[in-house]
C-alpha cells in the first residue's frame, strides 16, 4: 500500500514511517500542510494519514480541497482533539476515519488497512464468503458447511463487519464504532465477551477455527 503521512512532529513521523515500512507499506512523509497538499494532489496514494493541526495549512482544509478536486483517496485524521464534536467536524470535512492521539500503532495500522479496502467493490457485495462460512446480507442468512447458524441481530452485524474485512485486523474500538456506533471508552472486556459468544456459534464443532484473536491488536476472520 502507498501511504502519505502528513504530520509535523518529526519524531512521531519517523517512528510511524518506520513501523509502516516494517508492515510492508510504502510511505511518504510531508511535514507541513502545503507540502502535504501538493504531494497528495499530484501523486496517487492508497491512504492519506493527516494530522489535524499542521504548520502552514491545517489538516481539515487539505481534505476539503482534495474532495473539492474530486480526489477520493481515503483519509484517516489524526488529532489530539478527541471530543465528539471534533470527530464530527473531521468526518464532515471529508475524512473517512478519525483517530485520537495518543493511539496504538496496531490501531492505526488496522484502520488504514480497512480504509484502503473500503475503496474496493467488496463493500457492495451481497454475499460474503470466508472458507466454508457464508453470509447473505439480503436474506440475513448465515451458513457454515451448509448448516444454518442462528445469530442475534447484533451478532449478525458483528460477523458482517468482520467478514467484510476478512483477512484484516479489526480492533475492539473499530468494532464498537462500527457495530454499535458508539465512540465511548469501555473499561472492561465487553467486546471480548461478544466475540467469544460469536466464536461459540460459528467455530464450535469445526476443525479449523475462522475467528482469530490477534494478540495486542484485535480480531481477524480468515481461512
Amino acid at each position: 500500500m502507498k501511504i502519505l503521512l502528513i504530520e509535523d512532529d518529526r519524531e512521531a513521523a519517523s517512528y510511524l514511517i518506520q513501523a509502516l515500512d516494517e508492515s510492508g507499506h510504502v510511505s511518504h512523509h510531508a511535514s507541513d500542510g502545503e507540502t502535504g497538499y501538493a504531494m497528495a494532489s499530484s501523486m496517487d496514494y492508497d491512504v492519506l494519514i493527516v494530522d489535524r493541526m499542521l504548520p502552514r495549512r491545517d489538516g481539515l482544509s487539505i481534505i476539503e480541497s482534495l474532495r473539492a478536486e474530486d480526489n477520493h483517496t481515503p483519509v484517516l485524521i489524526l488529532s489530539a482533539l478527541g471530543e465528539v464534536d471534533d470527530r464530527v467536524t473531521g468526518l464532515r470535512a471529508g475524512g473517512d476515519d478519525y483517530l485520537v492521539k495518543p493511539y496504538a500503532f496496531t490501531e492505526l495500522l488496522a484502520r488504514i488497512e480497512v480504509l484502503a479496502r473500503r475503496a474496493t467493490p467488496a463493500e457492495a457485495a451481497t454475499q460474503l464468503q470466508v472458507a466454508d462460512l457464508s453470509l447473505d446480507r439480503l436474506s440475513r442468512k448465515v451458513e457454515r458447511e451448509g448448516e444454518t447458524i442462528l445469530l442475534q441481530p447484533r451478532e449478525f452485524r458483528l460477523l458482517e463487519y468482520l467478514m467484510k474485512n476478512a483477512g484484516k485486523v479489526v480492533t475492539r474500538t473499530m468494532l464498537l464504532e462500527n457495530v454499535w456506533d458508539y465512540h465511548f471508552d469501555p473499561q472492561t472486556n465487553v467486546i471480548d465477551v461478544h466475540m467469544s459468544r460469536l466464536r461459540g456459534k460459528i467455530d464450535k464443532g469445526h476443525a479449523n477455527p475462522l475467528l482469530h484473536t490477534i494478540r495486542g491488536a484485535g480480531y481477524m476472520i480468515r481461512e
Binding site: 478527541g82 496504538a104 471508552d185 461478544h194
Partner: protein, 465 residues
C-alpha cells in the same frame, strides 16, 4: 478620620447639598409669596378699617351733629394703637386729633393720601419705632362742614412682615443646619461601611480567603450586599478548596502510575533480563500508559462537561435506543459473571442530549454495578437498567444488589478521584461517577445515588425534551 474632600466626594453629601439648594430657593420663593400676600391683606384690612371708621363718624355727624362728632373723634384719638385721627373746621384749623402736621393737600379736598409724618407719640408701645412714620389717611367732608381725616400708621404692617421674615429665617436656617448634619452623618456612616468592605476585600486579595465582610443586625442594603458578597466568597473558597483537592488527587493518581511506568521501563532496560521478560515488561508499560491515557481522557471529559454546553451541541436523541444498546452491550458480560441484567425501558423516550456522552455515562454506571455486585450462591447478582418518564422528567437508573454504599459516602463518591477504601484495590480511575455527575449536570439534570437495600440505585434525572 474622614477628610472634608473625601466627604464632599460622597454621593450622600452631594445630594444633601443639592437638596438644600433647592430647598432654599423654594423657601425664598414661598417667603416672598407669603409676605406679599400678607402685606396686601393687611393693607386691605387697614383700608377697610379706615373706611368703616370714616363711615361711622359721618353717620354720627349727620345723626347727632358736629358736637357728637368731636366727642367721638377725641375718644378715638386717645386710644393707643396705629389709628390716626384729625378733625378740622372748614378752614382747616385743627379741632381735635392725634396728628398735627398734615400736608395741606389732605385738607384741600377729600381723598386717600399716603405721607411721612413726625410721630407724635410712641406707637404700639414698641421702643424701636423711629420718629418718622408713614401714614395712610382718608379725608372727607362732613355734613356739618368739618373736615375729617381718618388713617393708620403703617408701622403695624411693616412690623408684622418683619416678624414673618425673622421666624422664616430661623426656620430655614435650622432646617439647613439639620439636613447638612444628617447628610454628613449618613455619608460618614456609608463611608465607614464601604471602608469595611474595601479593607476586607484587600485582605482577601492578599490571600486570606477565609476573611468575610461583617454583617450587622440592621439588615439594611449594606447587609444585603455584604451577605451576597460573602456568599460569593464562600463559593469561591469552595472552588479553590475543590481545585486544591483536585490538584492533590491528580498529583497522586497520575504520579503513581507515571512512577510505575518509569520503574517498568527501567526494569526492562536492565541487562539481566531474558528476551521474554523484557517483552513482558514493555507490554506492561504500554498497558500502564493506556490506563494513564484513560484517566486523562476522563479528566478532560469532566472538565469539558463541567464547562457547560455550547449552544447547538445537543441534539434530539432516542434515549430508549441508547439505554437499550448499552444494556444489550453488557448483557453477555453480566451473564458470564453470573449476574442477571434486567431492563425496564420505556419506549420512544427522546431527550435533547449528546448521545455519546450519555452513552458513556450509562456505560460507567453499568460497569460500576457489575464491578461491585458480588453474587453469592445464597444471593444471585441482579442488575436492573431502567428508563422511565415521570412528570416532565426522565429517569435513567441502574440498580444492583451488591454491597452498597454507606449513606455517608453516597454524596462523596460522586466527587472526583474519590474511591472508597474497599475499592482502592479494584482497577479504575475513581473518575467514573464524577464523569456521570458532570455529564448529567451538563444536560441540566441531577445525579444521585439511592439505597436499593441491598445495593445501590444510581439515578440520572434529566428534564424531558
Amino acid at each position: 478620620m474622614f477628610r472634608l474632600a473625601q466627604l464632599w466626594r460622597t454621593t450622600t453629601v452631594r445630594l444633601t447639598a443639592l437638596f438644600m439648594l433647592i430647598f432654599v430657593v423654594f423657601a425664598i420663593g414661598l417667603l416672598a409669596l407669603i409676605s406679599w400676600q400678607t402685606s396686601t391683606q393687611l393693607q386691605q384690612q387697614q383700608a377697610d378699617a379706615i373706611d368703616r371708621e370714616t363711615a361711622q363718624l359721618i353717620r354720627i355727624d349727620s345723626d347727632a351733629g358736629f358736637r357728637a362728632t368731636i366727642v367721638a373723634v377725641e375718644r378715638l384719638s386717645r386710644q393707643p394703637g396705629p389709628g390716626l385721627y384729625y378733625l378740622a373746621d372748614p378752614s382747616g384749623q385743627m379741632i381735635v386729633g392725634n396728628i398735627d402736621d398734615l400736608p395741606p393737600e389732605v385738607l384741600a379736598e377729600p381723598g386717600t393720601f399716603s405721607f411721612n409724618y413726625a410721630r407724635p407719640r410712641p406707637l404700639l408701645d414698641e421702643a424701636d419705632v423711629s420718629a418718622l412714620g408713614t401714614a395712610v389717611v382718608r379725608s372727607s367732608r362732613l355734613e356739618s362742614g368739618l373736615i375729617l381725616v381718618v388713617g393708620r400708621d403703617v408701622v403695624e404692617r411693616r412690623g408684622f412682615t418683619a416678624l414673618i421674615f425673622r421666624w422664616f429665617a430661623i426656620g430655614v436656617g435650622g432646617i439647613l443646619l439639620l439636613s447638612m448634619l444628617a447628610g454628613v452623618l449618613t455619608a460618614v456612616r456609608v463611608l465607614r461601611r464601604i471602608d469595611t468592605i474595601a479593607s476586607t476585600s484587600r485582605k482577601i486579595m492578599s490571600g486570606d480567603l477565609s476573611e468575610r465582610i461583617p454583617v450587622t443586625r440592621r439588615n439594611d442594603e449594606f447587609d444585603g450586599l455584604a451577605t451576597s458578597l460573602n456568599q460569593m466568597l464562600d463559593r469561591i473558597e469552595q472552588l479553590m478548596v475543590g481545585l486544591k483537592e483536585v490538584t492533590d488527587n491528580v498529583a497522586h493518581d497520575l504520579k503513581t502510575p507515571l512512577t510505575r511506568l518509569r520503574n517498568q521501563a527501567e526494569a526492562a532496560l536492565r541487562d539481566d533480563k531474558s528476551e521474554a521478560a523484557r517483552r513482558a515488561a514493555l507490554e506492561e508499560t504500554i498497558e500502564e500508559s493506556d490506563r494513564l491515557i484513560r484517566t486523562f481522557n476522563a479528566l478532560l471529559l469532566i472538565a469539558r462537561a463541567e464547562a457547560g454546553t455550547p449552544p447547538g451541541a445537543l441534539a434530539d436523541v432516542d434515549l430508549s435506543a441508547v439505554v437499550g444498546d448499552v444494556a444489550e452491550l453488557y448483557a453477555p458480560v453480566a451473564e458470564d459473571d453470573g449476574i442477571t441484567l434486567e431492563t425496564r425501558i420505556a419506549e420512544g423516550v427522546r431527550v435533547n442530549a449528546n448521545r455519546e456522552l450519555l452513552g458513556q455515562a450509562l456505560v460507567n454506571l453499568v460497569e460500576n454495578a457489575l464491578k461491585y455486585s458480588q453474587p453469592t450462591d445464597a444471593q444471585p447478582g441482579r442488575i436492573e437498567v431502567a428508563l422511565q418518564r415521570e412528570a416532565g422528567r426522565v429517569l435513567i437508573s441502574v440498580a444492583d444488589n451488591g454491597a452498597g454504599i454507606a449513606e455517608v459516602d453516597r454524596k462523596r463518591v460522586v466527587e472526583r478521584f474519590v474511591r472508597l477504601e474497599k475499592s482502592r484495590t479494584e482497577p479504575g480511575s475513581g473518575l467514573g461517577l464524577s464523569l456521570v455527575n458532570a455529564i448529567t449536570r451538563m444536560h441540566g439534570g441531577t445525579f444521585r445515588i439511592e439505597d436499593n437495600a441491598p445495593g445501590v440505585r444510581a439515578v440520572i434525572e434529566l428534564p424531558a425534551a
